[in-house]
């Protein structure tokens, strides 16, 4: 490393720390005016649209999920203004950051549903591996049972933290606290150990193609739903143990990361399916928080009640 480059780095790093120190020094007086009393939302009455309530309680000036999604989807990456961060150990893009929300930039060329094999219908109607557990004809979904999010979305939930480390990319989900540990094969590095049990999130192996991290995920346990049911029309989008997913992770600039996926499952699908291209915007935090998933027996009872009522309603229509 040249002396000039070193000097530039030193100035950059020090100015960053200085700004931080300045903020700490003047922060309390400046920030106190900004603090608002947080009023928790009322518990929504059964049947009320609680997602709408959440939008309404946001203080002025705070983006709603819909606004943030639209902003990120329309964002034009600018690597000159926001250079791609790179790791000091291998110079590859550093994905580290907390990201939210998920914005689709290119929809899938064809819907996943169009590729499902007709002969899988009976299996799907039963809920696949969730037969007898997830009553998909109501509002029951894998989420309510604390299953990890769909592998089609990289098993990513709402807010996610990515961490680049030597030899690994870590994915930490805030909702449910699921995590993925993705080994990255280096140029001379050893092969990752393969002797893992089949799992919900599969076994991932990453390698770099230029600045794109390509992750192959196999060894799924045949349980995940690729997409939830949309009763009464759409059946659960079940998967099999033949599921294989190739993910492409990239960091166009410091503000976002992008995620593309190709899904193969010869036992369920007639052809490989290209998913949507998605991206997430970075948030000014360096950790996600603990937010575990528990199956609430009361909530579960309400789901079952609702499912029974819906099934009865549909029976009457028929």
């Amino acid at each position: 490393m040249s002396v000039r480059k070193f000097a530039v780095m030193a100035v950059l790093a020090c100015s960053g720390i200085a700004v931080l120190a300045l903020f700490v020094a003047i922060g309390p007086s400046g920030a106190s005016a900004q603090i608002r009393t947080y009023k928790p939302p009322q518990t929504a009455a059964p049947g009320a649209d609680w997602t709408k309530r959440i939008e309404e309680i946001l203080p002025p000036g705070v983006e709603s999920r819909a606004e943030a999604t639209a902003r990120i989807a329309a964002y034009k990456p600018d690597p000159v203004k926001y250079p791609v961060p790179r790791t000091p150990w291998d110079g590859k893009p550093d994905f580290s950051g907390v990201y939210w929300p998920d914005a689709t930039i290119t929809p899938p060329p064809v819907p996943l549903e169009s590729l499902y094999r007709p002969e899988a219908r009976e299996y799907r109607e039963g809920g696949g591996a969730a037969a007898g557990l997830i009553d998909w004809r109501g509002i029951d979904t894998p989420n309510y049972h604390c299953w990890p999010p769909s592998p089609v979305n990289g098993s990513m939930g709402g807010t996610v933290q990515l961490v680049s480390t030597p030899g690994y990319l870590l994915l930490l989900n805030e909702g449910g606290s699921n995590f993925r540990i993705i080994p990255i094969i280096g140029e001379n590095g050893p092969q990752p150990s393969a002797s893992r049990k089949p799992s919900f999130q599969g076994s991932s192996v990453g390698h770099w193609e230029g600045d794109t991290l390509v992750v192959e995920v196999t060894n799924f346990n045949g349980k995940p739903w690729l997409g939830a049911a949309q009763p009464p029309k759409r059946l659960p989008q079940t998967s099999s143990d033949a599921l294989r997913i190739v993910e492409r992770w990239s960091r166009p600039d410091a503000q976002i990361f992008e995620y593309r996926v190709v899904v193969e499952d010869p036992k369920m699908l007639t052809a490989p399916w290209t998913g949507s291209a998605d991206r997430r915007g970075i948030l000014p935090y360096d950790t996600v928080q603990e937010s575990l998933c528990f199956l609430d027996p009361e909530l579960d009872a309400r789901h079952r009640e609702f499912a029974a009522k819906e099934a009865k309603k549909r029976g009457a229509v028929r």
Binding site: W147, G167, L170, P192, F294, L295
Partner: protein
């Protein structure tokens, strides 16, 4: 700008420059041990940025108390509970163990289960993953203060911050939610034991993680809980051995698996 702020800024610049020089030197030294820290299975005593390297999948032997053996200093812990705590503990039983509802056991309990633990580092942070319960801990290693009160809320695993004392990572953990137990219901060091090991939201844990050789990691914790214990309790040193895998298994704890699964997982 006030004199105080100015002093802070100047101090920060000096510290920043020192840190930066340290990082540069570490990276330059790395030249001779190329690819040392990049391979998933390889191991070096120090990370590329010059910290002690705790990275790896580690496994301890199951510890606890029962049938005349006490390998986790639990008789001592039992003696430290206040009389109020004892009275409450007499009313509870094994089925009240929160791990039966799939809540994760916090450290140090997680260290006595005999299940693999994975540690991965990057500059400024260590990440700890446990296999017994699928959970991650994010531990800042720069000695920064705990999460500020405005954003701090009680959790099962608490809020961690850590600093290096020589080659030992000293982790300070606060902000527990008081739901966790310090040991398992099977742990009964004396005939009078209830098998109930309550904690409160006042719990404060100080952990010491240290690698003593290429394949051995030491763990020790000190637990303070003024609402439950009359004095701090020290765990014995737990020895973790390096595993040859590059990541732990995915083992989900879901109520649908049935309570038998949780107990089996605890090695009862």
């Amino acid at each position: 700008m006030s004199r105080r702020a100015m002093a802070l800024v100047v101090g920060a610049i000096v510290v920043g420059a020192a840190l930066l020089v340290g990082v540069r030197m570490a990276v330059d030294e790395k030249g001779s041990t190329e690819s040392a820290a990049t391979g998933t299975g390889s191991f070096t005593a120090q990370t590329a940025w010059g910290e002690p390297n705790l990275t790896g999948v580690w496994r301890g032997t199951p510890l606890g108390a029962g049938s005349g053996r006490d390998t986790f200093n639990l008789a001592k812990l039992e003696g430290l509970y206040t009389s109020d705590a004892r009275a409450r503990m007499k009313e509870l039983s094994a089925k009240d163990d929160p791990t039966m509802r799939c809540t994760p056991p916090a450290f140090p309990r997680a260290a006595m289960l005999g299940y693999p633990v994975q540690i991965i580092q990057r500059p400024g942070f260590a990440f700890v993953f446990t296999e017994a319960y699928p959970i991650f801990r994010i531990i800042p290693t720069t000695g920064r203060p705990h999460t500020s009160g405005q954003y701090l809320f009680p959790t099962h695993l608490g809020d961690s911050t850590a600093r290096w004392e020589g080659d030992t990572l000293v982790v300070d953990v606060i902000s527990f939610n008081g739901e966790g137990w310090l040991a398992s219901p099977q742990d009964r060091p004396t005939n009078a034991s209830t098998g109930v090991w309550l904690t409160s939201d006042a719990m404060h844990v100080v952990e010491r993680w240290r690698r003593i050789d290429a394949d051995t990691l030491e763990y020790q914790a000190r637990v303070e809980d003024p609402k439950m214990l009359t004095m701090p309790w020290e765990t014995p040193t737990v020895i973790f051995k390096r595993q040859t895998v590059d990541r732990i298994e995915e083992v989900l704890c879901r109520p649908e698996d049935g309570p038998a699964t949780y107990l089996a997982r605890l090695g009862s």
